[in-house]
């Protein structure tokens, strides 16, 4: 991203937020939606953004694998569920949570290596769509496996993150804006994770190898980068990202089957941000999170609610019609 793009974003984002605000205000004035106040609007957006970071956490795992191997890993959601289930299971067995975290990370690396060995290696050179369907198979398998191992009850995952409501910006708005401290901490963890990944990709030897593989498999192979090792590493990193996402989502909603479906929400995030871009995953997540909350709280309340079930997908679909490669994706060039 160069300075010009950043400048465009810095100007356009507040403009879009303000325009949407005025739009909803006009709708409220016309009596189409029940009520609208600016502090509430900002509160909704803020909470949406925090929610969006959680989506980005899941989306990150997709992007990592897509960048390195061109595989659209549908199983990421079940990895999130599996990681969270394993972590809870280990904590229930009496391990303190940092130890359980490390143990689960080891398990996820094991899963990653197994996936590479059993599924990906025999399917090398198959069309992408076949690989995609294979990951749907992995999705089902991991889903069943995790629940066979650890049971299907809703479990509480508590690693000591406070869940108190806090008020911020009390000086600007009367009464301040209400946010959950858990969401804020989750967002900070997400930001930290992204920073660590960025450094990892940019400055380490393995990171450089990963970028080379993402660029061109054959060229990477010919300069001596071991493709199989790299894939195992990428899946491991994605597994650990899934673990962090699992802890955050599990802490928020409880560890249960629906976690795997929440990961489906990461798909529109990816589409919006572009499959190959880590900043895209973050910004896509923020847009989807905020857009969804605004739609649900203002328009959704007027037409019957629960529109957040599909709003993200519709937004992504309409967006795709105009920009098929996503916000930050590489331009799609096709040759016969």
């Amino acid at each position: 991203m160069n300075l010009r793009t950043i400048a465009i974003w810095a100007v356009s984002v507040p403009l879009v937020i303000a325009a949407l605000g005025f739009f909803h205000q006009a709708l409220a004035a016309a009596g189409w939606i029940a009520f609208f106040t600016w502090p509430f609007y900002f509160e909704v957006i803020l909470n949406g953004l925090l929610q969006g970071v959680m989506y980005s956490l899941v989306a990150l795992g997709f992007v990592l694998i897509f960048k390195a191997s061109g595989i659209f890993n549908f199983a990421q959601g079940s990895l999130v569920l599996f990681a969270a289930l394993t972590m809870v299971g280990l904590i229930e067995m009496g391990l303190p949570w940092p130890l359980a975290f490390v143990a689960t990370a080891v398990v996820m690396v094991g899963v990653a290596i197994a996936v590479e060995r059993v599924v990906l290696r025999p399917l090398v050179n198959q069309p992408h769509i076949i690989l995609f369907m294979a990951t749907i198979g992995i999705f089902y398998f991991m889903d069943g496996f995790g629940q066979t191992l650890w049971g299907s009850d809703v479990k509480v995952l508590d690693i000591g993150i406070p869940k108190d409501p806090i008020f911020i910006l009390g000086g600007v708005f009367e009464g301040g804006l209400l946010v959950q401290s858990f969401d804020v901490i989750a967002a900070l963890c997400g930001a930290l994770l992204v920073a660590v990944l960025a450094v990892f990709f940019q400055y380490t030897r393995i990171g450089r190898a990963l970028r080379a593989v993402a660029d061109d498999h054959q060229a990477a192979l010919s300069v001596g980068i071991p493709l199989k090792t790299i894939w195992a590493i990428v899946w491991s990193v994605a597994g650990i990202v899934a673990l962090v996402a699992g802890i955050m989502w599990g802490g928020k909603l409880g560890v249960q089957f629906t976690l795997a479906l929440i990961a489906l929400k990461a798909l529109p995030v990816l589409i919006l941000g572009g499959f190959t871009s880590i900043p895209g995953a973050i910004i896509g997540g923020l847009i989807i999170g905020a857009g969804e909350q605004v739609a649900e709280n203002f328009v959704g309340a007027a037409i019957g609610g629960a529109i957040q079930d599909w709003f993200a997908y519709m937004l992504a679909m309409v967006f795709l019609l105009f920009r098929p490669q996503g916000l930050f994706g590489e331009k799609i060039i096709e040759r016969v």
């Binding site: 995609f132 599909w310 997908y313």
Partner: protein, 359 residues
Amino acid sequence: MLYREAGQFKTSYAADQSLFPIAQDKWGVVLLLAVALFAVPFMASEYMLSSILIPFLVFSLAAIGLNILTGYCGQLSLGTGGFMACGAFFAYKLTTAFPEVHIVVVFLLSGFGTALVGILFGIPSLRIKGFYLAVATLAAQFFLIWVFNKFGWWTNYSPSGVISAPPREVVPGVVVTGASGTPEAKYVFLLVFVAILALLAKNLVRSRIGRSWMAIRDMDIAAEIIGIRPMFAKLSAFAVSSFFIGIAGALWAFCYTGSVEALAFEINRSFQVLFMIIIGGLGSIMGSFMGAAFIVLLPLVLNNGMLWIDPTISVALVAHIEFMIFGALIVFFLIVEPHGLARLWQLAKEKLRLWPFPY
């Protein structure tokens, strides 16, 4: 020995291009249909009819629909459940608003209605492909289910949201829908209906339009260059596929479960049908039937197998192990035989032609 085409000469192109060029195939299918139509309804138990054969026929039709879109035209769709729900609710609204209209006409009309919805959600396919499109079809899935859940108009403002399919007669005196129809009547009706639609699909995919779908699937840019209109090909695939899937949804609600509810058409239904065509064989009408049979039978076999091994096993555990085996089978099939059961059947036939001699 028996399966050998020696001596069967074709004297015209029409005979060469016929649906079953080998006489044994033709007689085999006729025999199969005759047994299914005249013997099975009298011999099979009620359980066999209503929990195996009827869902098998309904799923076969849905699988044919998805196979047209994904297997023949190469457009991956995860919105099957949503389109099935469309068919079911369209049929319900039509038949409650116009009870005098014949039920077959209602099913066909709801199929056409679903086709229109399919075209609408197929529009993104003109710009995007592959898994981008899969995500766009997820929009159809979630949006359509939401619409049917949210607005009471679709259920005629029934307070529970679960409505039973009204009884309708196909010929005077024979009720084939709802709870009052006998399984035998439903089965025979479904068999005839699905057989006719399958014949239609088979002929469609080997016609001009079917060939244009396959050209788009194999390489869309190349197809465009040789003069196939991608817009027409893709949207027609969406329309025809949704037509079949919509009718399958209506049959599901009216003839199989007897109740019309959006819950039956959640995202898992979409995956289930997708698995059928992967296991059965992408791009094969025959494979759709095989895949449907496999996916309908597998849970029953697994259930009974596990209960036989350990009678105290919990229902939840059985469900989870079922998930695992499903997932593993998908991966297994994709690795070992990406063309599915249909391809295995074809290989078996090749072997059979020479049997009992080695060559």
